[in-house]
């Protein structure tokens, strides 16, 4: 899991960037000085392997798109065609409920109403609120652990560490009961609350970064009469903007992709998130001939927001995946 993602090193010098570890530090890992490598047989072979791996990685994404753009009713006639079969956007129209029942059935859909707009909205809402809570509360706690002295600090930190070891399923069974007893089943709070207040990972991630901030910065703020709250809000948070956004992105992806918990407490139509909707869509597909085109259009809709987010921020995320031995 994302447990081994480390925040970038705080800028020890005056570099204002809070960007993730790589970037400027890039040459650190470079094993040899850049010189034009001779295209030996070994290198060619190695590059072939790497390109092959990238192809294997990318092909399923292409296949999703190819299938989603096909006409479901004739898909089976040319199963090995590398291009969409009788290209149409019908599958996407079905997914968003834009096609009439007849149109949908003509293209191999089930005709059942599917309201992916709703699910998309639910996913955005749930992931956004969870991320906001985790980042804000995580940063506050991380600050208290990293930059303040208070009795019991190390004991509480150790307790939080143990939370990492308990598998989610173990706490999710009783949490389900709690939500049921509170009458919250099939509401947004039920889906959001268990993740909202804390995730050990966010705290460890930011604590690691806050620990590295030079204390002179803080002392200067102190001399100016800032208390801890002021220092946190005006100095520490702005300084840590890089790692905080990285953390937010990672947590957003995790929240977006969560399946088990929303399946337990939020399978009702009006709060259903995309992952749960996909599972239900799949089990509703008619016997014998599933609506593959529709299903692939739906998976694309579910995957695309995160992939777009990633396209914009990949450098930051990729460079921040490192090793810190947080356990």
């Amino acid at each position: 899991m994302a447990v081994t993602t480390e925040p970038s090193r705080p800028a020890a010098d005056d570099t204002p960037t809070g960007t993730a570890g790589g970037g400027g530090a890039d040459p650190g890992g470079r094993v040899r000085p850049r010189r034009r490598p001779r295209p030996t047989a070994g290198r060619v072979l190695a590059w072939t392997a790497l390109v092959g791996i990238m192809a294997i990685t990318l092909f399923p994404f292409y296949w999703m798109l190819r299938t989603a753009l096909s006409d479901g009713s004739v898909l089976a006639t040319q199963p090995s065609s590398l291009l969409p079969v009788e290209p149409t956007t019908g599958a996407f129209e079905r997914v968003f409920g834009l096609a009439t029942t007849e149109e949908a059935q003509a293209q191999g859909g089930s005709g059942a109403a599917i309201s992916f707009w709703r699910y998309l909205l639910n996913s955005v809402l749930v992931a956004t609120v969870i991320t906001a809570g985790q980042v804000v509360f995580g940063a506050m706690a991380a600050y208290a652990f990293a930059r303040m002295r208070w009795p019991g600090r190390d004991a509480v930190f150790f307790l939080f560490l143990t939370a990492l070891m308990v598998p989610p399923i173990f706490t999710q069974l009783p949490n389900f009961l709690l939500m049921r007893d509170l009458g919250l089943l099939n509401t947004y709070p039920a889906i959001i609350l268990p993740f909202f207040f804390m995730t050990p990972f966010a705290i460890f991630f930011l604590r690691q970064f806050f620990l590295g901030i030079s204390s002179e910065v803080e002392e200067a703020a102190r001399l100016d009469g800032s208390g801890h709250v002021g220092t946190f809000v005006r100095i520490i948070v702005p300084m840590s903007w890089g790692p905080i956004t990285t953390l937010a992105l990672l947590q957003y992806v995790l929240a977006w992709n969560e399946y088990f918990w929303p399946l337990l407490v939020g399978s009702a139509q009006d709060v259903r998130v995309l992952t749960v909707a996909l599972g239900i869509f799949r089990s509703q597909t008619p016997q014998g001939t599933p609506d593959w085109a529709g299903l692939m259009a739906a998976t694309l809709v579910a995957a695309l927001p995160v992939l777009l987010l990633f396209a914009v921020t990949s450098r930051k995320i990729v460079n921040s995946i490192g090793f810190s031995g947080i356990k």
Binding site: M1, T4, E6, R9, G22, G23, A25, D26, G28, G29, V31, R32, A46, I53, M54, T57, P60, F61, S80, G133, F137, M140, M148, R149, W150, R153, V156, L159, A163, M165, V166, P167, I169, T171, P174, N175, F197, M198, L211, G227, W256, L274, T275, G279, R282, L295, M296, T299, A302, L307, R315, K316, V318, N319, I321, G322, F323, G325, I326, K327
Partner: protein, 332 residues
């Protein structure tokens, strides 16, 4: 953000002064006057405690309500007979006794272990290969972005895409098999195939991410070692076995165990594809727990099985600590 490709700084520094595996905890704060505890200092400490309490309160609340309390409750439920509706009835260790004689449980253990073995075995080898290839060939962010892409997509999405690609009749993989004259395989419908299939699907999703973790570990290996080996005329193959692998071992150990802990909790992929079948061949532990609790409403027993899962993961974590401690010195 920051400009890439810096034009050769004089001394390539290792990116992390942080050192390898366990990041050494810095002394907490360079705190103020250790001398006389004046009243002013005490008042300030009291104020600081109050502020700290405010900062930690939301997390502590979340931890208490959604981690700590349910853990205790889960342990208690495992000692009860509970169907969700009537009050839980205390039955002592009866659930655990039942577990010993439950063939479905032992089947779930076997299936889960098989899954973990295939998943972790293949994934680690491939991830290591990708990491080393990237390390020796390119620093390109683009390459790293591509390989990590599957990890960003939900398990459910990945499962459905492969469910389609591996369809027994018109899936592209079986089309390709037919193209080279092989019989079609019912990847998700065949008892012998279903677990290897699900394990490999998840290898596809996780290998790039795991490779990036290992890649970060590789970057901590001092470059001059390779220079020296090269001067001595060592081959890439030789360097891998004599430099890369031994020095990467601590990182590898930790990555292995973290991925293993995740692997033991496989659920999503199973739930949307084979759903435990055919004939329990993909009924992994977590799916069995889910099934017991929410389909058969046998909540007490489900809790007992999840305690077993908890114990397994704790054992894995203990092994992890041992391994990393034992290997700490490797990177000096």
């Amino acid at each position: 953000m920051s400009s890439t490709a810096p034009s050769g700084p004089a001394l390539p520094q290792s990116p992390a002064g942080d050192g390898p595996v366990p990041v050494p905890a810095r002394p907490p704060g360079r705190g103020g006057g250790r001398g006389a505890q004046s009243d002013g200092a005490r008042a300030r400490q009291r104020r600081e405690n109050l502020v700290a309490a405010g900062f930690i309160a939301p997390s502590l609340l979340g931890f208490g309500v959604f981690y700590f309390w349910p853990t205790l409750r889960g342990l208690y439920f495992s000692l009860t007979d509970f169907d969700f509706f009537s009050a839980p009835a205390f039955v002592g260790l009866a659930n655990y006794q039942r577990l010993l004689e439950d063939p479905t449980f032992w089947n779930a253990m076997r299936v889960t272990l098989l899954y973990v073995a295939i998943n972790i075995g293949v994934q680690t080898v491939l991830a290591l290969a990708i990491a080393v290839l990237m390390h020796r060939l390119t620093q390109s962010t683009f390459v790293r972005s591509v390989v990590v892409m599957p990890y960003l997509v939900a398990n459910v999405v990945v499962a459905l895409v492969f469910f389609w690609m591996l369809d027994a009749q018109i899936g592209i993989v079986n089309q390709a098999l037919a193209g080279v004259g092989l019989d079609p395989v019912a990847f998700f419908g065949d008892e012998a195939w279903v677990i290897p299939t699900i394990a490999l699907v998840n290898v596809w999703r996780h290998m790039g991410y795991t490779a990036l973790l290992l890649f970060a570990g590789l970057q901590m290996i001092p470059g001059h070692l390779y220079e020296a080996a090269r001067t001595d005329g060592a081959s890439e193959w030789r360097m891998f076995w004599s430099i890369t692998l031994p020095l990467l071992r601590p990182v590898l150990a930790v990555v292995l165990v973290i991925t293993m802990i995740g692997s033991f909790q496989v659920f999503d992929t199973v739930a949307v594809t084979a759903a435990g079948g055919p004939a329990d061949a993909s009924r992994v532990l977590q799916y069995y727990i889910f099934d017991l609790a929410f389909q058969r409403l046998d909540y007490g027993y489900a809790s007992a099985v999840s305690v077993v899962l908890l114990l397994i993961l704790m054992a894995v974590a203990v092994v992890q600590l041992r391994l990393t401690r034992a290997n700490e010195s490797d990177l000096g």
